[in-house]
Symmetry: C2
Subunit: 353 residues, 2 copies
């Protein structure tokens, strides 16, 4: 599947930043566009897949968050709301009443995904069981599991995944980690791709720190079947990242990203802002995703409206300073042309000795 | 200098693991051998450089730790010894009396280095001032600064370094970090090489997670002038790593490395053992390098003698499971042959679309 892509570049599914238009542009350029469907209602997943198929015959992917239903105690939710109270005030948002639900139900999302049967489905935050993998395969869907460690790649191989998306420590946004702790699961892309290739015999998509055609060529040299790029698309014409988010990325200094648990209850990488820095001492105490994510939603919505980067999630990978603007399809073609040039130069250089 | 190497592979300087024989084998194979001279007496630095020159005309490098003289309070040293008391007992070593000196004097080491004037000198743990850089250059020595962040690479460019050794978060052994905190300076090799190349106009040596010819090709594709490999040499015939250390690396499970400050007072990456795990809760309190390093020396010597991996420093990078045995010179040639094959295949693949 992935080895038949005209251009072995996968656009990373990014909830809040990837868009229908971005996925379509990337797939039509010859790469693989993706939907970050983790926060989508089941009915919308089916609708988006239909809409894509109506627009293009090209392959594409849909990504889901593997989540158990959240069932926090009322005390935990109230404590979390109290902890956020100064931030609600700061952005002029009403603190929410303890919500009844925190995220779309994964089982319903999965059922919708299975009915929609996109060419590729990828999963993060957890593992799905073999019967779900097999059901997707029977529906003609290629199944990709996200791994941040070699152990997680083995787990995906055991449930029958077709390929592994190796999420290196450089990557922006949520960590897909589901076995060990987040800080024990920060393997750089170089070591992770090599380690997974050594451990299991499945195609590997390299993700994390890949920002241009040089990175694409490097990922393929490492033995990856494709390079997955997310941060590199954040400033694209089709990016769903808010103007405030984009401005903050462009204004960031050297080495600007950090991991935080404070914004959503799951470790994620972004440009550090005041919220992340201030919440750091208490971030271990916030309720797990999706609870904290639901409770900070009013903050992030208000901050985006007000253009306040201090309270926004500014997800980005470690390569963020290398991101540039452009049409997403043109970026894919440009990176691939650069990867071709670099590959030819590399072959010439290594054979001239 | 680096772009004239027959094989663009730099053997990482590794105190305790790289040896004269390893450096010689790597340089004679066409790569660049290195001395980890951070713990060497000045007179030994000059002797080793003379000895190398007597054995080979090939270029080589010498690495120093940039350190201020340690001046801990007696209370701090005694508290550190008390903290280690159960470990001294465990290995049957006498707790040391508070030592008078903790490491070779950097100024004396630097003076010896300048007199020896090796083809290449590299520095880690800190920055040297422009007059020292210029003195080395005037002596014909190529000056390389280690950077774990883009900001550190800029600092080295400002003092006039000839090239940057970009130490990605994957790398084993001590972090070279000298500006921000260790946990804010864990940039993966993909993002770090690209970020430094974007920020400054100096040759970049890529280090961290490079374990074979695929990794070498990937590093060059990213735009590095050479690939630096350390962990990949730990099981080589010429490795100075003890049998216990080597056995522990080979026995390690998936994703086995962690960062620790407990062994030396400076964050370093190794396969986690009992000492690292047990000391984790108090590792922030141990005195900074070289004090803690000096105090754990009797432990590590006794543990190596007793073949006890639980109290040894098992330095290794995240790619450690990909390390294999062999003559260091043969490994260099094999990796380069593989890099050539991979590069040709990549050029063929990318041009066939």
């Amino acid at each position: 599947m992935l080895d038949r892509l005209p251009i072995p570049i996968v656009q990373a599914p990014m909830v809040g930043a990837s868009t229908f238009e971005m996925a379509l542009a990337v797939s039509q350029a010859g790469g693989l566009g993706s939907f970050g469907a983790g926060a989508m209602a089941p009915v919308d997943i089916e609708a988006e897949v239909r809409r894509f198929r109506a627009a293009s015959d090209a392959p594409f992917g849909v990504n889901l968050f593997v989540l158990e239903p959240a069932n926090p105690s009322q005390d935990e939710v109230e404590a979390a709301i109290d902890r956020l109270r100064p931030w609600y005030e700061r952005v002029g948002a009403e603190p929410p009443a303890p919500p009844n639900d925190f995220a779309p139900d994964f089982r319903a999302q999965f059922a919708a995904l299975l009915r929609a049967a996109p060419p590729l489905a990828s999963f993060t935050f957890g593992l799905i069981p073999p019967d779900q993998v097999n059901a997707l395969k029977a529906a003609g869907t290629y199944v990709v599991g996200t791994a941040t460690t070699v152990a997680e790649a083995r787990a995906w191989a055991e449930v029958g995944a077709d390929a592994i998306s190796a999420q290196g420590a450089e990557a922006g946004g949520h960590r897909g980690t589901f076995l060990a702790s987040a800080d024990e699961s920060l393997i750089g892309t170089f070591a992770l791709v090599g380690g997974i290739r050594q451990a299991i015999d499945l195609p590997v998509i390299a993700a994390g720190g890949i920002m241009d055609g040089r990175g694409v060529a490097a990922a393929l040299a490492l033995g990856a079947v494709a390079a997955q790029m997310g941060t590199a698309f954040l400033l694209a014409d089709q990016s769903g990242a808010s103007a405030t988010w984009q401005k903050a990325l462009q204004a960031a200094g050297d080495d600007p990203t950090r991991l935080t648990r404070a914004l959503t209850g799951r470790y994620a990488r972004g440009v550090e802002n005041r919220f992340m820095a201030t919440m750091r001492p208490v971030e271990a105490q916030v309720p797990a995703y999706p609870v904290q994510n639901r409770l900070t939603q009013p903050l992030r919505v208000a901050a985006a409206k007000a253009g306040d980067p201090d309270v926004l999630s500014l997800w980005a990978g470690q390569g963020v300073k290398q991101a540039g603007p452009g049409d997403a399809g043109d970026l894919v073609k440009r990176w691939w042309a650069e990867a071709q040039t670099v590959s030819r130069a590399l072959a010439a250089r290594t054979s001239s000795e």
